[in-house]
């Protein structure tokens, strides 16, 4: 017997190897095999507003997906707070245990992209003949680098100007569909006054209007696309900052905060759609803005083609995933399925990045039902705002550089020495790039 084994050693080895190959082939290609994909996500809204229903929504989406794809199960770890999410995901990545599909943390897209954690979706997009034009340009752009898709948008959050309608009515001001920064300044100038004549200003034009808003309003790019050059010292930037100081000086050194807006003392305040949708309907309205009527407009811009940057929440695929096809199916469904997107739009606070969903009459009704009122924030108006937006720059150091720039500019603004400091700031930023 042993001799027989010895004499057929080679044949036996070849048989065992081919049998192993064959059975693994059968196993991997078995259509009945149940695949479990993991999802990385956090509790609540991506837009830092209260959202008590997020898991309910997610469970419903997953249930629908599993019903449609019985061979795929989706698992996720509940209870990760948004503030912990980035480090939680990093821990998993470092240990090589990252989920197959994950929500990209706010400032980590560039980092995850450059370290190869995000999979290039181009092949899947092409194979699936998936049309990326269904998304608003700026929404899909947030996940695209050099024409390569790395993540898909599932929710967007455009910035708008919140308006205290009572003050405007009292001052007899109407806002045109497109308004320039100069017109905006004139309105603020007209509104800012001492109503009770006690010698202290008590009605203001604007609060929380930052240097980033004015830069965006003038349509200025602070960096080139590769993130190797900054333009802080340009004449355009100087002009924008001059306008900002004019607007700030209207308040005569009085610090105006969002609290003053809540009390009805301020006419304008920039606000994201998510904040607006959270605070506008009952019950938050009662807590925050019960004393006056308010609405939203697009931000004022110097020219009609100046574009505001829009925050977009992205979902990506792990480059180390073993189930890319199934993960892609799930990812595609969350981001592009009109029904799912409508559900997300209804249950959470942002805007849908899918054009078709935002143009739907359902959305219009949804906004009206939420107490937005017929004349105020229509779906059509949000559409127009979203079409005008652009995505944030995507070079690796953007978040870090912007943080430093914000610190330097804010400090300089507080010291009232921006004109003198600008070239120094420019140099400092350039050094960081």
């Amino acid at each position: 017997m042993i001799n027989m084994i010895k004499s057929h050693q080679k044949t036996i080895v070849i048989w065992i190897i081919s049998l192993a190959c064959f059975s693994s082939f059968i196993y991997w290609n078995n259509p009945e095999r149940v695949i479990t994909i993991t999802l990385g996500t956090y509790v609540g809204s991506p837009w830092d507003v209260p959202d008590p229903t997020s898991y309910k929504l997610l469970d419903r989406i997953i249930k629908n997906f599993e019903k449609e794809n019985p061979t795929i199960k989706v698992k996720y770890e509940p209870g990760i707070a948004k503030s912990d999410y980035s480090s939680w995901l990093s821990e998993l990545i470092v240990q090589g245990k990252q989920p197959d599909v994950f929500v990209v943390p706010d400032d980590d897209f560039n980092l995850l992209l450059s370290t190869g954690a995000l999979d290039n979706l181009n092949r899947l997009v092409k194979e699936d003949r998936f049309n990326t034009n269904i998304f608003f340009d700026s929404a899909i752009d947030a996940g695209v680098v050099n024409h390569e898709v790395y993540a898909l948008p599932f929710s967007s959050n455009p910035v708008m100007m919140c308006v205290n309608m009572d003050i405007l009515k009292k001052e007899g001001i109407t806002i045109p569909d497109h308004w320039t920064i100069e017109e905006f300044y004139d309105m603020c100038n007209k509104i800012t006054k001492d109503t009770d004549h006690d010698g202290v200003l008590d009605q203001f034009g604007v609060c929380d209007y930052t240097w980033k808003d004015v830069i965006a309003g003038y349509g200025i790019s602070l960096f080139n696309e590769e993130g190797t050059k900054s333009y802080f010292n340009s004449s355009k930037v100087k002009k924008a900052f001059a306008m900002l100081s004019k607007i700030t000086h209207l308040n005569k050194n009085i610090k105006v905060s969002s609290e003053d807006f809540d009390k009805g003392k301020v006419a304008f305040m920039p606000m994201t759609l998510a904040q607006y949708r959270t605070y506008k309907p009952y019950p938050y309205r009662v807590a925050k803005y019960s004393t006056f009527s308010w609405s939203c407009r697009s931000m004022p811009t110097s020219t009609s083609n100046a574009a505001y940057q829009m925050k977009t929440a992205l979902i990506g695929l792990s480059s180390r995933s073993n189930h890319k096809q199934s993960a892609w199916k799930f990812l595609k469904m969350i981001c592009s399925d009109p029904d799912v997107q409508q559900l997300i739009l209804e249950q959470s606070q942002g805007a849908s990045p899918v054009r078709e969903v935002m143009n739907d009459s359902f959305t219009d009704n949804l906004f009206k039902r939420n107490g937005f009122g017929p004349s105020e924030l229509t779906a059509q108006r949000i559409n127009t705002i979203m079409e005008q937006t652009i995505a944030y720059p995507k070079f690796k150091k953007y978040a870090h550089v912007m943080e430093t720039a914000d610190y330097l500019v804010t400090l300089s603004l507080a010291n009232n020495s921006l004109d003198a400091d600008l070239s120094q700031i420019h140099q400092n930023i350039q050094k960081l790039l």
């Binding site: 480090s87 990093s90 821990e91 990545i93 470092v94 240990q95 090589g96 370290t115 190869g116 954690a117």
Partner: protein, 443 residues
Amino acid sequence: MDTVNDRHIGLFRKSLILLNFVAVIYNAFLFLFITKYIVVNGLSHSLIESIGSIPRSPGYTFFASVGSFSILLMVMYFRIDLEERHRVSKDLLTFIEMILMMAILYLLYDCYNGIILFVFADIIYNARDNKYWLWFLGISFGMLLLSNYSLISTIMKMPSLDVYIRFMPRATGVSISFFRSFIDSLNMVLFILFLITYLITSLDEQSHIKEELDMVSQVNTELNSYVALTEKIAEDRERKRIAREIHDTLGHALTGIAAGVDACIVLIDSDVDRTKQQLKIVSGVIREGIGDVRRSLNKLRPGALEDRTLKDAIIKMIDEYRELSKLNISLYYEWDYIDFDNTKEDILFRMIQESITNSLRHGHAKNVEINLFNTEQCYYIIIQDDGIGSEHITYGYGLKQMKERLAMIGGSVEYIGDQGFRTMAMIPKVKGEDKNDKSTNSR
């Protein structure tokens, strides 16, 4: 001397195996350990910010690299057995070792490239009789140079172990790095020691082989002179035989003839009848002498022609050449109805034999064609080979003798050496040889 060196080589090889095993486990373990440390201390995000590319699961890195190394060790251990008993090709095994080496380099993110020296030490060790060890050495150092992390990471993004170590507390980090450099340096030293010992051994071996070759060539010379001596002895013996033969036959006959003719000179004037009788006797002696000479010459004929026809002899010779060399000889024989006398047969046979020998020895031919045919007046021999030929034919002993021999029977020969070598001979016919010749028969 040799055995001591062999023992040293074995020792260095074993030390290299042990050291590299420790090195692979140590480096793989570092990934596992530092990852744990980083996760526990919440440094994951800054780690991702510092490394160029995200790592694989550290557990996978550990088991895959240690596993690959174990397979590599197994291949090295069973190598000789596989080569000799199972006839697995040496190149295939070298290739497998290289693949495993690259796999380990890749799995450990190129953080330990001492494995290159280790594998090449084994390849050089197993290629002992190979002349290419210098090449292997060159390639191994080239790979060592190319596998430098800072070079590779510009082409292929990989996390660097150094970045991981920087996350450790300073003192720990320093000792970890120190131990890594220590392993690297020790590996290098062991490799160089192995190489030097190997070189010394192979040089010794070479001089040993040279000595043996010298001895063989001396024996060869001795054998050559012995062969020459034997030939000389054989020649002498043959000469003596011929001398004896001439003495016994011709000498005897000629002496008798001389005496008989002398008697005739005395008798011719007195008694013509007796003289006639005497001359008849002399004539008889002469005929007898001729018979004796014929018989002697028959004894001196080529061995092949004894008791055979010319055709059979030639075929036998061709068969013998075929067996001795890979020469392909084709024969076209049209002399079936021709009856040569012995002398002619000898000369023709010798000539054909000489031509074939020349084709083989000087022309290095693969094919020879022999054409033997005749016209009404002449016999023709054309022998053509496909060897290197020669533009300027120098007449050596063989060709000259061939010419002389043919001249003896009234023939002539020509040589052409531009396309292979061609020998063409023409011998005039003598009456009565051609049994088919009707003109002869009718006369």
